[in-house]
Amino acid sequence: MLGDSRKAQEVFHATLREAAQRAAHGELPSEPFWLFREARWRCLEATKNDLQPEAVEIDEHDLGVAAASQIERLDPAQLAIWISAAPDPQRSALALFYLDEFDYRDILDLAELKLNELSRLLARGRRQLQAWLDAKFPQPDQA
């Protein structure tokens, strides 16, 4: 969500502190994902005053047959930065989806999205990521 481990750690600790304080007062919400919702809002808050990416048209490519091998060559930190650079709510959708811990209904709930919105954000995210991969690791036929 942040593409910056220092900021991520601050958000993580602030969220846990909030949880501990609420627990001490017996005010822990009963909804299952409140901690993740809280963390997401803190992430969005943390990046509100950062430099925002320009609203430019990003290339989109169809998923290629060699996509998996291109992805394997990616540095995980680079992927984290690529996802964190996406505008919200696409950033939340991609981060929560590829964390692979949540059911799509959980993501709808957490990111306050509708099914068609989440679907569109993920589909576009895949195509944009593919375009980035193609630019980063050109395939022989594309080169």
Partner: protein
């Protein structure tokens, strides 16, 4: 239009299809996946997602934060599993069946909680009270307490005495009849709140023949009628009224005073 929207929804679900094949999914997602399972586009999407998820798992987490997670799952699985289990039609059906059976047991238990010897007969007689019409009784204009002589002299019924609490009520009619077990029942209709009195033999022990006694007054209920029953000298007396316990309580409380 409906078909179009259904197809759009399926397409939307497929875009959100779970990354892991072993991940449990709800029915609409399962149906959407089964329709395209094996298609090149969907396989390509799944391979893409799995590859991305593998790299995401490698994204370094600061050690200080990582130790909070240790080996545990990010999301507690029990809540979702429990909800999903409760939504399972088979579990739901069994739960409802168990609840109904438990309800019947509780109902029976509560119904028989206040049972006493002669309560079954008393309930039957409340049914009789509900169906009795004044013309079915011999007209008698007297005090209820004086009818014990009539029952003894005319029908040979001993100890068919109306308790003191109800003895001074004016009667409209009375009769003696046999129930389905050939027990002789005396029925008195009084003017007071259209109450009916019943006198009938107390229950006896099947082996010894001893009267099964019970102390004080006991209440029975049937079809909107309430009866207050007491036993004396092997004969039960029941005052029956269309209403509730509180309609009879003042008369019984009066005797205690």
């Amino acid at each position: 239009m409906k078909l179009l929207s259904l197809m759009r929804r399926r397409r939307a679900l497929l875009n959100c299809a779970p990354i892991r094949a072993d991940q449990s999914v709800e029915r609409s997602m399962r149906a959407a996946i089964s329709r395209v399972d094996g298609s090149a586009d969907f396989i390509s999407q799944q391979n893409f997602d799995r590859a991305v998820a593998r790299v995401v798992r490698l994204i370094p987490i600061p050690a200080e934060s990582a130790e909070w997670f240790s080996e545990k799952d990010l999301v507690p699985a029990s809540q979702g599993t429990w909800k999903k289990m409760m939504r399972n039609p088979a579990v739901l059906a069994i739960s409802i069946a168990v609840a109904v059976i438990a309800g019947v047991f509780v109902f029976n238990f509560l119904s028989h909680l206040n049972d006493f010897p002669a309560s079954a007969t008393a309930r039957k007689l409340l049914g009789t009270a509900a169906s009795t019409r004044p013309v079915m009784l011999d007209p008698v204009n007297a005090e209820a307490g004086t009818l014990s002589d009539l029952f003894f002299m005319k029908h040979g019924l001993e100890h068919y005495d109306v308790p003191a609490e109800f003895a001074d009520f004016g009667t409209i009619g009375c009769r003696v009849f046999e129930d389905d077990e050939s027990r002789r029942i005396a029925q008195i209709w009084v003017a007071e709140k259209h109450m009916q009195f019943f006198l009938f033999p107390a229950e006896r022990d099947g082996k010894t023949g001893a009267v099964l006694r019970f102390p004080g007054w006991r209440y029975v209920h049937q079809e909107g009628w309430t009866g207050a029953v007491t036993e004396h000298s092997g004969v039960c007396f029941m005052a029956a009224i269309r209403g509730r316990d509180k309609d009879l309580e003042p008369y019984i409380a009066r005797s205690k005073e």
